[in-house]
């Protein structure tokens, strides 16, 4: 179980990093999205994982880590998911704009002339 999760997150990270280093913004966006999955799972895993816990507190069940999974990392992941979505959305739209401005969907569009500036 732990190994599956660990290796899964590892693979996600690896592929994400590879895509991050591509030259075109869209691939970079794919990479960043994939990386956010990895990060979210990672954050979640830091609260330790178990398959048989009750997510919701209920009467007659002591509100302890023995019965429930750690809620804090989950809350953090919720925040992280939304922030990641927002940032990715902005980046992809900027990428569209940059493609239209410079007629090139590479992440370095319009930078050839930078030395001249």
């Amino acid at each position: 179980m732990e190994l599956l999760l660990a290796s899964g997150i590892g693979v996600l990270t690896a592929v994400a990093v590879y895509l991050l280093l591509r030259a075109r913004t869209f691939e970079v966006v794919l990479g960043l999205t994939l990386l956010s999955y990895a990060v979210n799972l990672f954050l979640f895993a830091m609260g330790r994982v178990a398959v048989d816990r009750y997510p919701i507190l209920r009467d007659g069940l002591a509100p302890t880590l023995a019965n429930h999974s750690d809620p804090l990392p989950q809350a953090l992941v919720l925040t992280a998911i939304v922030i990641g979505f927002a940032m990715t959305a902005v980046l992809i739209v900027i990428a569209l704009r940059s493609d239209a401005e410079f007629g090139d969907d590479s992440a370095d569009a319009g930078r050839a002339d930078e030395d001249a500036r």
Partner: protein, 938 residues
């Protein structure tokens, strides 16, 4: 701190007055020539008067001082003190300053902005006075750098001339560098002796010289002094600075600024001198400068060039004297400072007059001016005779003392005899160039092609020269009377302690120094005449490949080097930056594990329990999808679908690991992202044709990716082997119900325990939507894979399926949303999830009918949703402030609601409403705006 009411306060005024004058002059119009000169002169004389008022005190051996606490460094007050040396220099600065002001008034042409000139001039004068009167080293350095700045402005005064600009920048860079070195040295000294106050520093010779920082401090301070006073090998900036107007040269480059370096050596003499390093460094640099300067001077054709190199040589002489480090040598040095200031300033002014009245400074053109400008000639002859060290003039006296000191050294071993010899030779050169100055300019045939017919200048232009030349003569004839007392007090504060016996007499009887003088005169004359006759000096253009070329090439190299570095590193390529970041991160993450301690400690004992089948399948599918994405990422539609699949698996993983809220949110966000990316793909190439990325880069990226993956895997595995160490979770679980009336701990954390995070997060989401709106406002895509008609067709197709359903689905979505929302606090759900559900519901009609269709029918201002949502969420937090609780403090009540029964309503519910509104508004806005562009290029 002294009583500010004490008369010594006027010391501060002496320094302040020139700055005040400068401030006034900046406001004057440039045509107010006489007014400008008047202001400058008046303030200078006023300051001089204040200074002279201290004469009795200073001559009585007192040290008037005043200080106000200022800088937070030990002893770095805003304080001034006037001991003999400071008094002498201040007198020099102000006296010659006054004369130069008078001279400059007539020298500058009506085209030159005179007010600005005098403004800079007074700025410099104030800085110079600050240097000599400062009562601590920090203040001294401050004014030191100020002289660099103001001389930069003065040298560059004729901005339209490139030589002026270059000269100014070179002077600034060289003296600025020296200033930095000096700062470092001064800081070292202050650190070691515990204070920057001169009174302390001057008493701390033993402390400093016994400490390890003595040598670095000495080198740094000397670097400052040598650059400022143009010592070899830093001498080259001075001739370049001759591009300045002649009054500036007369003032800065003979009497004052270049003397600042000398002053520093004299000032710190008691603290730094008396060691071998001091002796060898200062003496040899001084000697080299003396000889080199004098030699080059002979071959200059430009009057000011000759004077510049002669100045360098004389500065070398003074430095050498301080280096010799005997009491008499120091006296001689102080004496020569005064003498050189007088004759060199007058010579510069004379040169300026000649330039001014004849239109040339080239000694090959200037000949036989004797009959045109006799008065100037007489004055110039007196001054240059003093420079040559002819008896009965002041230059002779100090040179005699100098010779006397060079004899009988033994520190240089067998080479010691070289010192007097070289001294004599240099003296010979100075005789030669002095003769050349006189003979070439005033005799030696007729002027050659001068722009205008030369004549003596207006009376007031001659006065300053006359005064100074007169001084040369007066001091030369009656040294004891003229200069004795001043010299005594000045020298006393350099030597510290009682003065040895010395006599200011013209005639010391036949002795070695006298013979050396005679020898020098004879040699010099012979040398000049032979050059003149045999080598036809005038055709001989003497080019020294010296510091200037080196300096220029260094600067050029620096510039090109920098450009190269920047081109190489800051390529502006994203993948470069990203790769660097990843690589560095991996490095620092791995580094801690390389120590044996860590390696032993970190235990990786995984409980190899057989994972549930579902988990294994999930893992396999996820792996396949991820690798597929890696393989097919160029085919973008496939890539997005695969990405969606992976997201789905992630959310199932959350569900499997008993985190339903995460599962729901992940799922909904997933849908939103896929829609987003799909919409974006309308305007991007469906396939990414590979850029020419070479194989080596793929390898680099592959390795980085693998390393990153391994790091993360190890980290997760190691953490998961241990039990939870959370110090927070138990409390959160225990207090969720009693503290915040919520059985869904995760939601309680979001809306209550850590509500501030959520507030910030929805702010981010909202702003993101606004950015998207802004960016898409006047966006014209290059291409759109869905053409207008295809879209219409699609629209038809959609409408068949969806037009009915979508209208119905919106309310349905709303209901589901509200349901999720209400149960959120106690069961999986809450503001986010509800918001996302509603947003996706609202999106359906857009997909079905296209944005325009929808917006004709429903006008929803989603920006307002975002704004008000944020505002409501914030406001619920503010309420608690009124009740005296911190921001975002929640409360709850449990009312009896018909049908549903008792439900606890936390105030956090209203917070969640804000979240709900913002999320709905933001997501809908973002997606629909991206959808609107659907109609293709407008």
């Amino acid at each position: 701190m002294e009583d500010p009411a004490s008369p010594a306060v006027s010391l501060a005024w002496i320094v302040a007055l020139p700055f005040i004058a400068a401030a006034i002059l900046f406001t004057l119009p440039n045509y107010a020539r006489n007014l400008a000169a008047g202001v400058a002169g008046a303030f200078t004389l006023l300051a001089l008067g204040l200074l002279l008022a201290f004469t009795p005190d200073v001559f009585a051996g007192l040290v008037p001082a005043v200080a106000w606490p200022w800088l937070p460094l030990a002893g770095a007050d805003l304080g001034f003190r006037a001991d003999g040396l400071a008094f002498m220099f201040a007198g020099l600065v102000l006296g010659i300053g006054a004369l130069v002001v008078l001279y400059a008034r007539y020298y500058l042409s009506s085209a030159d902005p005179m007010a600005r000139f005098f403004a800079f001039f007074m700025l410099f004068m104030g800085a110079m006075l600050g240097i000599v009167l400062a009562d601590n080293l920090i203040l001294l350095v401050i004014f030191w750098e100020l002289t660099s700045l103001s001389s930069f402005l003065l040298i560059g005064y004729w901005q339209h001339r490139s030589d002026a600009r270059q000269g100014a920048r070179m002077a600034l860079v060289i003296t600025g560098t020296g200033g930095l070195a000096l700062l470092a040295g001064v800081l070292l000294i202050g650190q070691t002796v515990g204070s920057y106050k001169l009174d302390v520093v001057l008493q701390s010779a033993t402390v400093l010289q016994s400490s390890s920082v003595y040598l670095p401090a000495l080198l740094l301070v000397l670097a400052g002094a040598f650059t400022k006073s143009a010592q070899v090998p830093f001498h080259f900036w001075l001739p370049q600075a001759m591009a300045a107007p002649t009054p500036v040269s007369a003032y800065l480059h003979s009497a004052t600024m270049v003397k600042a370096g000398i002053f520093l050596i004299a000032r710190l003499h008691p603290t730094l001198a008396g060691t071998d390093p001091w002796f060898y460094i200062v003496t040899s640099v001084g000697l080299a400068t003396l000889v080199v300067g004098a030699y080059i001077a002979v071959f200059q054709h430009d009057l000011k060039g000759l004077l510049a190199y002669s100045t360098i040589s004389h500065l070398g002489l003074i430095t050498l004297l301080f280096g010799l480090d005997t009491r008499l040598a120091s006296i001689a040095a102080v004496f020569h400072i005064l003498n050189h200031a007088t004759f060199k300033a007058s010579l510069f002014m004379a040169a300026g007059i000649i330039d001014h009245e004849s239109g040339s400074r080239d000694m090959r053109a200037l000949n036989g001016l004797w009959k045109y400008m006799p008065i100037t000639a007489v004055l110039a002859i007196v001054a240059s005779a003093a420079m040559a060290g002819v008896p009965l003039l002041n230059g002779f006296l100090s040179k005699e003392m100098f010779f006397a000191e060079t004899i009988g050294l033994d520190s240089f071993g067998v080479f010691s005899v070289l010192v007097p010899v070289l001294a004599t030779v240099a003296a010979g050169f100075s005789v030669a160039y002095s003769m050349r100055f006189i003979h070439d300019v005033f005799w030696n045939g007729e002027p050659i092609g001068l722009p205008r017919k030369p004549h003596d200048p207006p009376f007031w232009m001659l006065v300053p020269v006359g005064v100074l030349a007169g001084l040369c003569l007066f001091v030369g004839l009656f040294p004891a009377v003229a200069i004795g007392p001043l010299l005594e007090v000045a020298a006393a504060s350099v030597i510290g302690g009682e003065l040895p016996y010395y006599s200011l007499k013209i005639w010391h009887g036949f002795n070695l120094p006298l013979i050396m003088s005679v020898l020098a005169l004879a040699l010099g004359a012979a040398f000049y005449l032979s050059l003149q006759r045999l080598f036809r000096l005038h055709d001989h253009v003497h080019i020294v490949y010296g510091g200037r070329q080196i300096f220029d090439s260094i600067l050029r190299a620096l510039l090109n080097g920098s450009r190269a570095v920047i081109r190489w590193l800051a390529t502006g390529r994203l993948h470069r930056s990203m790769a660097l970041i990843v690589a560095v991160t991996i490095t620092v993450a791995v580094a801690p594990w390389l120590t044996p301690r860590a390696a032993n400690a970190a235990s990786l004992t995984l409980a190899i329990n057989v994972p549930p089948l579902l988990a294994t399948v999930l893992w396999a599918v996820g792996l396949a999808a991820t690798l597929g994405l890696l393989w097919l990422h160029r085919d973008r539609f496939t890539a997005v679908l695969l990405l969606g699949g992976i997201g789905l698996i992630v959310s199932i993983t959350f569900a499997l690991l008993s985190a339903p809220d995460l599962a729901l949110t992940q799922l909904l966000v997933e849908i939103a992202s896929v829609v987003l990316l799909m919409l974006a793909l309308n305007y991007l190439p469906a396939r990414a044709d590979p850029l020419p990325a070479n194989a080596s880069r793929r390898w680099r990226d592959g390795l980085l990716a693998a390393a990153a993956g391994i790091c993360v895997t190890v980290a997760v595995a190691v953490v998961l082997t241990g039990p939870s160490v959370s110090a927070v979770a138990p409390w959160l679980l225990a207090n969720s119900v009693p503290g915040a009336a919520g059985t869904n701990a995760v939601n309680v954390i979001i809306v209550d325990f850590r509500a501030l995070d959520t507030l910030g997060e929805i702010a981010v989401l909202g702003i993101a939507a606004l950015i998207i709106v802004g960016v898409l406002q006047d966006y014209r895509p290059r291409r759109s894979s869905i053409s207008a008609e295809k879209l219409a067709a699609a629209g038809q197709g959609f409408s068949l399926m969806l037009s009915m359903t979508s209208r119905a689905l919106v309310p349905a979505a709303a209901v589901v949303a509200i349901w999720f929302f209400l149960r959120g606090h106690n069961l999986p759900g809450g503001g986010f999830i509800a918001g996302l559900v509603l947003a996706l519901g609202l999106l359906l009609p857009y997909l079905a009918r296209g944005t325009s269709w929808v917006e004709e029918r429903q006008r929803i201002n989603y920006e307002a949703w975002i704004g008000w949502g944020l505002f409501i969420a914030g406001l619920t937090g503010v309420v608690s402030l009124a009740l005296g609780y911190p921001f975002l403090t929640s409360t709850y009540l449990t009312p009896e609601v018909p049908i549903i029964g008792k439900i606890p309503i936390a105030s956090a519910l209203f917070f969640d409403i804000g979240v709900f509104a913002t999320v709905t508004g933001a997501v809908t806005l973002a997606l629909t705006r991206l959808g609107r562009v659907n109609v293709g290029p407008r």
